[in-house]
Amino acid sequence: MLEAKNLSKSYGSHKALNNLNLTIGPGEIFALLGQNGAGKTTTINLFLGFIEPTSGIALINGISVAENPQETKKHLAYIPETVMLYPNLTGLENLEYFSSLAGFDYSKQDLSELLATAGLQNQAFKQRLGGYSKGMRQKVGIAIAVAKKAKVLLLDEPTSGLDPKASNEFSEILKNLTLHGTAILMATHDIFRAREVASRIGIMNQGHLQSVLDAGSISANELEDLYLKTV
């Protein structure tokens, strides 16, 4: 579903990402851990097609992102660290706008259900997004991503700004998506949640993917120790 082959990205002499090799299959959640500047967001941006690789190739469904970004986008959904949407429109309208852009025609009922599943309180649906908290916007962002029914989900610290309960609900949504065969790449700082939700965990440092672990075979404490040793 999602594959990186010798993927590298340099900004001048600085190597933001160095020779990444990674395959994420359908129904798999891969969590990327690492400090700020370790290359997590660069990896995600390369898959999104926002930036061009210096060398190597990023593939989605076997299609090269750099060569055919319009095509690979169709299979992608994305939640950034801070979801920014149109402040003049309501949460419901934002969801309607973006899902229609992606070519879906949801009824108001469907849209409300998507927002409710993402954990947004009912009374906020018809309020202007400008008045939302960061967490509420994040939930609309989740609903937009889910509504796209994409085969690949790219998450850049998606739970930042969410309260523990919402984070927990988000984990459930992700697990539910994997049952439908979605491949998920998630950059995060949340070691605990990574271990709980991911199938595999990669630890990055200075553009290198240092180690890849099976999430089921390690405890949260062990993971934290390893993380601290790596970075």
């Binding site: 941006n45 750099a66 950034p80 429109l89 309208e93 706008y97 229609s100 852009l101 992606a102």
Partner: protein, 463 residues
């Protein structure tokens, strides 16, 4: 596509709810209303003055004739003024042009015409910079600002806030997303201009006829030009502040600097000392004749009017025939510089038309003035008609003067009446073509830039 209907309506809603839209719309309406009020005011005042002229003329002639009883026509004809008028077209209220600079009525005496024609100001006959806040000012100067305010941050604001990332991922047709956002803005701009224009039509009671349609066409082309210009700046994919700065700089350049520089070039390249020169020559030509033998003066006159050769002109004393022949001779002597002046005024008009090819702001302003018959060409036409009228006045009185008829024996009210030159339909082709060519060229450049800067992968961090 059905889905797109939702996208369209939400996109429209999103744009209209932004705070610049209402603010821009309302202020344009207010400026528009003031522009109509001002244009109406200036032209109405002129019309009021023009309306008084016939009665003033009749009363004036009557008084002069009353005083002249018992004297010859030659003696009385020295005094009366004959009024000429350049009445405004119905569209002058929309675009005052040079009507506030150039005289809209001139009173001429039987004396030499040249000095009287240029009694008024002729220091800066081609004011490319608009001085009046009339309807044309609102369209030419303020609409571009509205377009800038509506468009400068169309995409950059979304890039800056981060929505753009989600937009790019959500749709695989980024170009159509951009096109939709821009079309909505274009529609709002066009709608605003249509509303302001129709308000003007009603307020100024412009007739529903060809010239009104021409005004609309020029304004449409002009608005489209500015919109494509804004498109091109947006298509560079730079920040909102960059776009706003560049667009405002372009506005200052096209609306203020360029016309100002063009004005200086025109003044330097085609100076018109002739107005002054003509007046001086005519006066010298006339004054010197007092001390000169009468014969040569009379010969100049007879060259044009041989039929008066039969009337005796005494060499040693004053006679009316000689006096008016002397006035005429002054005109003849200054006629070369007078022709030169008219030729130069026309050259100025042509040169500024040429500048208009390179700057749609000038082109649009010129065409509005052309349609309204308020430009320099109209003024030249008026001056020429005044000269023609003066000629027919002289020719009406010459028989009475040379035959030394008594004042009361001439029908003074039967003197030739001045007929205003009438409306001249403007030809718009060159201006419209140049504005459209600019727009098309800029539009195609923008589409290339949009593809390069928004569709292909950009290497900007946090793109």
């Amino acid at each position: 596509m059905i889905f797109n209907n939702k996208v369209w309506s939400l996109e429209v809603k999103n744009f209209l709810l932004g705070n610049t839209v209402l603010w821009g719309f309302v202020s344009l309406m207010l400026f528009g209303l003031y522009g109509f009020f001002h244009g109406n005011n200036v032209i109405e005042r002129q019309e009021q003055i023009l309306a008084k002229i016939p009665s003033v003329q009749t009363a004036h002639i009557q008084t002069v004739v009353e005083h002249g009883k018992g004297k010859t026509v030659g003696s009385t004809a020295y005094y009366p003024f004959f009024y000429t008028t350049n009445p405004p077209s119905p569209w002058a209220k929309f675009s005052i042009g040079q009507r506030d600079v150039n005289p809209f009525n001139l009173k001429v005496k039987m004396l030499g015409i040249e000095g009287q024609l240029h009694d008024s100001e002729l220091t800066n006959p081609l004011t490319l910079l608009v001085g009046n806040l009339d309807a044309s000012f609102v369209f030419i100067f303020l609409f571009p600002l509205l377009i800038i305010a509506f468009t400068y941050n169309t995409l950059s604001e979304e890039q800056e806030s981060g929505v753009w990332k989600i937009v790019r991922i959500s749709s695989s047709h980024t170009l159509s997303v951009i096109a939709r956002k821009l079309l909505i803005r274009l529609a709002v701009v066009l709608l605003t201009s249509a509303i302001v224009f129709l308000m003007g039509m009603i307020y100024l009671s412009l007739p529903f006829s060809l010239p009104s349609m021409q005004l609309g066409i020029v304004l449409l082309c002009y608005v489209i030009f500015w919109f494509t210009l804004a498109l091109m700046i947006i298509s560079f994919g730079k920040s909102s502040s960059f776009n706003a700065t560049v667009l405002v700089c372009l506005w200052i350049f096209l609306c203020i600097l360029f016309p100002g520089i063009a004005n200086i070039i025109i003044d330097n390249k085609i100076p018109v000392p002739e107005a002054q020169q003509t007046a001086i020559k005519q006066r010298e030509g006339y004054h010197q004749k007092w001390d000169m033998p009468k014969k040569p003066t009379m010969e100049t006159f007879y060259a044009s009017y041989p039929e008066y050769r039969k009337y005796p002109i005494p060499e040693d004393k004053y006679s009316s025939g000689w006096y008016y022949a002397m006035q005429y001779a002054g005109d003849v002597e200054s006629s070369e510089s007078s022709d030169e002046l008219f030729k130069k005024l026309e050259q100025r008009q042509n040169l500024s038309d040429l500048f208009g090819q390179f700057n749609p702001v000038i082109a649009a302003q010129q065409h509005l003035n052309k349609i309204a018959n308020t430009d320099l060409a109209n003024h030249i036409q008026y001056l020429r008609s005044v000269k023609r009228h003066h000629k027919s006045l002289r020719e009406y009185f010459y028989p009475g003067i040379f035959q030394e008829t008594l004042t009361e024996n001439l029908d003074w009210n039967a003197h030739p009446k001045y007929e205003p030159a009438g409306y001249v339909t403007a030809s718009l082709l060159s201006g419209i073509v140049s504005m459209l060519l600019w727009s098309i060229a800029i539009f195609f450049t923008s589409t290339v830039l949009f593809k390069r800067n928004f569709i292909h992968i950009t290497d900007k961090q946090n793109a």
